[in-house]
Amino acid sequence: MVSAPESPAESLFDKLWNSHLVQAQTDATPAIIYIDLHLVHEVTSPQGFDLLREKGIAVRRPQRTLATLDHSTPTLPAGDDGQRPYITAQARRQVQTLRDNCHEFGIELHDWDSPSRGIVHVMGPELGATQPGMTIVCGDSHTSTHGAFGALAFGIGTTEVGHVLAKQCLLQNKPKSMRVNVEGKLAEDVTAKDLALNIINYLGMNGGTGFVIEYAGEAVRGLDMESRMTLCNLTIEAGARAGMIAPDHKTIDYLRGRAKVPQGDAFDQAAEDWLQLASDPEAVFDSEITLDAADMRPTITYGTDPGMSVAIGEPVPLATNATQEKALQYMGFEGGQAMSERKVDVVFVGSCTNGRISDLRAATEVLRGRRVADHVRMLVVPGSENIRKQAESEGLHETILAAGAEWRLPGCSMCIAMNGDLVPPGKTAVSTSNRNFEGRQGKGSRTLLASPETAAASAVMGHVAGVADLETAQEVA
């Protein structure tokens, strides 16, 4: 009797890659992969649409394309004249250009009047447009967020935005694979943001370059979906274009009933397929690392790349090379200095990293019954209209406002600081966003990345602090 040839073990990434191959890679040419969902926003799409006009072609699959306004949009409401306070006429035109393009090419746009408008990586999952097993791209590096659902999701450039609009396909060489296992349980006060900052610190900001990362292990399985999105979102900060987590019952529960998922029996059938996507036990990775969740503490960055971080309470590390020296100089830190000495000027809670409802609840819980220090400006920006409504129905905005913080309209806001929400030169921000590069939050801004809990605690204390410091301070008082 001849036994059937065994099919080789596949990872989650292999399964996603192979099932989307339109044309295989050769020695001379890249693979062509099919894209299931193309997310579009105003900043990186205009020249992509121009390609279509130049060539006189339509968007190939408008129903696989979903657009929103998020980057250039003001977070303050329209004035008495009904005009939204765009930072420049050019920003207003950019938004109008997306509106015109979506109208011309028949694309669903979540404009100001949509109850679902939000940051592109917040809105996709909320609508159930993001689904396991999909390939998802967007002209935005934090597209890795959607990998939390067991999708292959990554950022592309504007030329490629044009390619996907026109052909629903991308030219790609298959990246290498890495599995990051996080064993054990995270302590109660350690969030997904802290976990991600620890992983980036371990890999370095370029340790993932050339790889797609799968996150696995007990600590990862233990994360809820919003935390998984935070973790996958930050994958690009280690240099890897995509991060992913195998779908499980949490994935299914999150998606059931959302607007764009199959409904009824069709959903159960889809869910069954989604659960088959997990990496085979014998799957092989080009690289594999294992970290211990028990080693991780609430964490904050001190430098100018997301890999430069320490546990809250630890001093600023001593610089050991020119890059670290330059970073400390830019940040105005001395090696060995206590982080808590740093006065905080601005606190930002929001972004595609930490702008979801659980993030706002966590920050609000810290603010409850407390006040933001007088010298601190705190901005809380929900990731989407749905989150804004949910937060307001829970009364979170009242607590936020009562504490002396600002409650804004959804958008990318101070994370990328291109809409006028920015950190002044030389000022220090504790921010729940994703990049602490020089000038990222405004020319000369100094950014410390942390969780919503740490950000809120720092806002109250007026200097770099964790939630535990807040409790200690209260006992002393």
Binding site: V22, R93, M418
Partner: protein, 194 residues
């Protein structure tokens, strides 16, 4: 896309590691709907002071900077955001080649798509180049080779590898989109049978 075959020109060195795309083109310049004139904002926060005047002595403000077609950047060049504005700004300023010992994934593919040649060299070769600010070197995409002249006049040739399809398109100035167009039958078949 403009073809790239072989180029001899001056090197401009920015030795800092991890030069991210927010440095290359700060976000406030991303609201335009075309890439025209974006080279004027290249490294704006490094080159220009608070009143948008050139920072005296900055390498990018020195005479000859805009006539230097080869940028040698520190390790891990182009990390961060996916903005294609970054390679467009470099091209607009006058660069045709970026050399480093590591180049970030999205920046590399964006560069290849818009006609900026990304070259990754070995660490020791890269370290030598970092010391060659203002000197003339040759970058040959036909032979995949960087040629430098040592102080004693001898030539050193350093081979580099590049994705063969990217090389093919850059050498001929081909738009990668044409390859997708030629695959129409395969795409249609995939859509029908998936």
């Amino acid at each position: 896309m403009r073809a790239f075959t072989k180029l001899t020109g001056q090197v401009l060195v920015l030795e800092q590691e991890n030069i991210d795309t927010d440095q290359i083109i700060p976000a406030r310049f991303l609201t335009a709907t075309d890439f025209d004139g974006i080279g004027e904002h290249l490294f704006a926060d490094w080159r220009l002071d608070a009143s948008d005047e050139p920072v005296p002595g900055h390498r990018l403000n020195q005479s000859g900077a805009r006539q230097s077609p080869i940028l040698v950047g520190g390790h891990n060049f182009g990390c961060g955001s996916s903005r294609e504005h970054a390679p467009h700004a470099l091209l607009g300023f006058g660069f045709r080649v970026v050399i480093s010992s590591q180049i970030a994934d999205i920046f590399r593919s964006n560069s290849q798509n818009v006609g900026l040649l990304p070259v990754v060299l070995e660490a020791d070769q890269h370290a030598s180049l970092l010391q060659m600010d203002g000197e003339e070197i040759t970058v040959d995409l036909e032979d995949c080779e960087v040629t430098v002249r040592a102080s004693d006049g001898t030539e050193q040739r350093w081979p580099f590898s590049i994705d063969p399809f990217a090389r093919h398109c850059l050498l001929r100035g081909l738009d990668r989109f044409d390859f997708l167009e030629q695959a129409e039958d395969a795409i249609a078949a995939y859509e029908e049978h998936r």
